[in-house]
Symmetry: C2
Subunit: 403 residues, 2 copies
């Protein structure tokens, strides 16, 4: 029998996304794994009204075939938004609506990558981005993160050795999975590198509005003078993921290439939801809603960081995210967060998290974990973190040589 599947769909290669979230059926279970927003904060009544407004104002035409770029009202609102908060001057013609941020990553990969093409990613990085890139079988180059973002010296060394690198993927704001934010200086320097070494930057910013200490920094795209930066964002974390609406900003040949592959992929995305989001933004103050979200998520972040500082053993290091949903915890060398999860944390602590391995394109790091504080109330986070800390202490103590 022929092998009827494409290499990219080979069942022997597990998708980084499948089985991402470990399952613990215990009634005691606390999940620090899923990066879902807290649905208690969803503005259901306002969005319900927005669907009605869109349908009542636009009638049957709302449900006809539209354009591949997507709803113009929403693209215009987003153009104003990225100008205000990201200092990016662009037009609605440069905005493409997507099925969440995920499709934006996939479209950029599809538009750029032939098999074997070279891609640089910060490590650790968003698992879903690796899964989308994997579809197009690239060669990865891993670039470490520093506390102020991508290590640009390491990136330039990599570019010198691998001048064919086409694409750099980065989550500059409250990075998934580490919570790290790239400094403004580095944003500008990164664009200079892209101009010099001739590559495209995919700037993925689902968390950029969720800063708990400061306003959003200028987007990397704001420093782009050659149309090399694709800015990508999403409503999933600031409104609702079930709306499946992301958006990207691109220019020139890159925009044309993205539109070409988008048209062939799904013609267009769901206009009714886009019209409803536009109506929501017209009738409500999205920024005020985001302020409310930030108040909640800040308290959740504080609960997690406090526990990391007070309860966790000294052998463990961790980030202190200024925004977003995640904290990155590094265990002593030699420890394996994946086996610790299945052997200890699920059966004894009933706490789950996402182990490090899948955040690395080469799956070569095991002693770290992503903790998410987005889905739980502060006191639940504190409870889960204490259980995690207790078991970690035992595990580290057990591992340490007895002198």
């Amino acid at each position: 029998m022929k092998n009827l599947l494409a290499t990219r769909a080979n069942p022997d290669v597990t998708s980084a996304l499948s089985g991402l979230f470990p399952v613990d059926d215990s009634p005691l279970a606390i999940s620090l794994a899923a990066g879902s927003p807290n649905l208690d904060y969803f503005p259901v009544a306002a969005v319900r009204q927005a669907f009605l407004t869109a349908i009542d104002q636009q009638g049957a035409g709302l449900f006809q075939y539209q354009t591949a770029q997507g709803n113009l009202d929403l693209r215009q609102a987003l153009t104003a938004r990225i100008q205000k908060w990201g200092q990016v001057a662009t037009t609605a013609d440069n905005v493409v609506l997507t099925v969440g941020g995920q499709q934006g990553i996939e479209l950029v990969a599809k538009a750029l990558l032939n098999p074997g093409d070279e891609v640089a990613v910060e490590v650790p990085t968003y698992i879903g981005a690796l899964a989308a890139f994997d579809l197009y079988q690239p060669t990865y180059h891993a670039v470490p993160l520093e506390p102020d973002g991508l290590d640009l010296n390491a990136l330039e060394e990599t570019l010198k050795r691998h001048p064919k690198i086409k694409l750099l993927y980065t989550v500059p704001d409250y990075h998934n999975p580490t919570g790290i934010t790239m400094s403004v200086t580095k944003r500008q320097q990164l664009v200079d590198l892209a101009n010099r070494y001739d590559f495209v930057i995919l700037e993925d910013t689902p968390y950029r509005d969720l800063g708990y200490e400061a306003a959003p920094l200028p987007a990397i795209k704001s420093f782009d003078t050659q149309g090399r930066v694709v800015f990508l964002s999403s409503f999933s974390k600031i409104l609702m993921p079930g709306l499946r609406t992301g958006w990207l900003v691109a220019d020139g040949d890159l925009l044309a290439a993205i539109m070409k592959v988008r048209l062939a992929s799904d013609l267009e995305t769901t206009n009714i939801t886009h019209a409803a989001i536009a109506a929501y933004m017209q009738a409500n103050d999205l920024d005020a809603h985001i302020q409310t979200l930030k108040t909640h998520y800040r308290a959740q972040r504080d609960a997690m960081v406090t526990s990391l500082e007070q309860d966790f053993p000294d052998e463990v290091s961790f980030t202190k995210p200024a925004g977003g949903f995640f904290d990155w915890v590094t265990l002593p060398k030699g420890m394996n967060a994946a086996t610790l999860l299945t052997d200890t944390m699920i059966p004894r602590a009933h706490v789950t998290y996402v182990p490090a391995t899948n955040f690395y394109p080469n799956r070569d790091v095991t002693n770290a974990m992503r903790l998410s504080f987005s889905g739980l109330e502060p006191q639940v986070i504190t409870t889960g973190m204490r259980r995690l800390a207790d078991q970690l202490k035992l595990a580290i103590h057990r591992q340490a040589p007895v002198l």
Copy 2:
């Protein structure tokens, strides 16, 4: 400067989909080009209520991240529907919701095709399918259509010469662009060929509910005993395209491969719309709505076929579709429907259609055109067809040798 685009996005290769619909800005313009459903028949009030029902019954959870396969209520309703109308026994676990039928085609192509892999398509065929396959750079084999569907002798000859063919794409019901329907006997024989020559069948059925003479035939999938047939359908033509909801049925390894690439492509589709469609199907009789559609579209089809029979010159041949949206008109050899459109029909008749070329993977047929009767009232169709016929007579007369 590096070429930063993937081969599939090469701007020198025009997408078959872009510029698909010729533009005529004249107030006299009649478009027989677009295959859009008529928005006058959209059940806007019922769908508006369905959105409310879904939101009010399910609340915030409706808008949270869901599963990659999509809304379970809708998948269950579709399982019952394909059993009833297609004689396919399956389960909700085998149903995957997609962004229209287009994404279903793209996902199957993505799951199966490495560059250069061999694909058989009936010719002419759906332009969007070629665009989706083109993303994965296959080698095409064209198989002609007969009045009762795919020429299976020609297909078997092709399979003997090209035993590596992995995938056959067919629109068996009221085919786009010809309106032809595959006989039940051929459906069964096609599955036998697939078993014998070891390939996958993608059965694309956006029009299968829109038969104006008879009930839908058993799906090709109903004869599938080895999990080789992917059944694909859509709500775009029977409800509203702006809902962007298609669905596919697959089994075993194929299903797993499709799910793997879907997860990496966009995680999941828009749950709010899927929940609304499920609520619509719960509260309304979709089949009764389809009966109403059929009454309208049948009259439109009749207007087109009557004009083809009465007004068109004898040198022209045409199909008589028993359902769907399209008629396929073949001009005398040597005529070019594309240049005829731009040079004559748009400036003189103010009627547009889709010329043949883009419906052929090798772009090697020019003397035919697709006429769509889906978007216009019967009397407008008759007016447009007469104008087309008048200019065709002049053009054929001009071309004919003077004896």
